[in-house]
Symmetry: C2
Subunit: 201 residues, 2 copies
């Protein structure tokens, strides 16, 4: 099944600016991408990374400078079924990728924390994406308005995308992948002040 992983190679992970400098944000975004690629290929898919700039990556690569919404809209026009998986799902394992693609529905959505859509399967070209704002809700609305069936995948590991420092805590707690190893190597560890865990460096 055609599988794409969009990747912002230009100014990735700006909301991690309080804990990582620009070079480190570049690095961690690429390590996260590699963790996602591991999960996707281990699920038997053959993904294409669509990056805003050339990057070194062990997968098929295409360069496209456009924002997510027109980019994925054109992908849907070009081929359905289409699988789209975000590049910053630091807890992702192959099982959740398999669950996603094995779920029936014209449109299959994996909600992300904060209203986003962290992964989707589109099996009908009448669907259209809108990644701005509350995209999960908007994607449900768009599908319903076009008479398309919608299914959701209930997964903690699909739901956590790495945007904020607190999300790095989830990676340290629940992943043994490359990003967790990189964070540990960079000196991050878990601290529990007054019983509430956070990360420190």
């Amino acid at each position: 099944m055609e599988t794409v992983i969009p990747f912002d190679a230009t100014t990735p992970k700006t909301r991690l600016g309080d804990v990582l400098d620009p070079d480190e944000r570049n690095t961690v975004s690429r390590v996260l991408l590699q963790d996602v690629l591991d999960a996707v290929t281990n699920a038997g898919l053959d993904p294409t990374v669509i990056a805003t700039e050339p990057i070194e990556v062990d997968a098929a690569l295409r360069i496209d400078h456009r924002p997510l919404t027109p980019l994925i809209s054109d992908e849907i026009d070009a081929h359905t079924p289409l699988v789209v998986i975000m590049a910053d799902l630091g807890l992702l394992q192959s099982q959740q990728v398999s669950k996603l693609v094995d779920t029936a529905g014209d449109v299959v959505l994996a909600p992300g924390l904060g209203g986003g859509t962290n992964a989707l399967v589109v099996r009908n070209e009448d669907f259209e994406v809108d990644f701005h704002g509350t995209s999960f809700r908007d994607h449900c609305t768009i599908a319903n308005s076009r008479g398309l069936s919608v299914a959701t995948v209930d997964s903690f590991r699909l739901g956590v995308d790495v945007d904020e420092p607190q999300d790095l805590l989830e990676v340290l707690l629940h992943s043994s992948g490359r990003t967790a190893a990189w964070l540990t190597e960079a000196g991050f560890e878990i601290e529990a002040t007054n019983g509430r865990p956070s990360i420190r460096r």
Copy 2:
């Protein structure tokens, strides 16, 4: 299966203090509890609420003033298998409760955001709980140290507990239960400033 839902009736949901006054926090905590009870009873379980003070609730009720760790430790000593489900899982549906109790393992854990344990099944009385700090990791460690098998349940709906204002956004986005209705009635709505959704009142 013996099922308990611990409930802090005394000073609930203090971290919602920026958006709700003490009376409202009391109310929303009880509405959340009722949503959890709906999910649990719809899954065919017959739960007992263990509250720190007398409350009005449509379920078996016991009063116990102790903190979570000694309380649940004594429950495990008294009867296994034991199901424990937190009272603030605002997205919970019966399907996730069924998935939890249908998962095999001496200890079955549902991780919560921020390192917590939002639900568990204990089938061996050698297990012990420790709800302070990174309880999910600590529960894995305790089980492993005693030779007990551990399984985890990967669920977004089990993973989101309502502690912070941002968690109320998840309730408004993904639930049609009593808490979502109460929040709407109280004037809360979703706002997307610069594409990042949050709640406003």
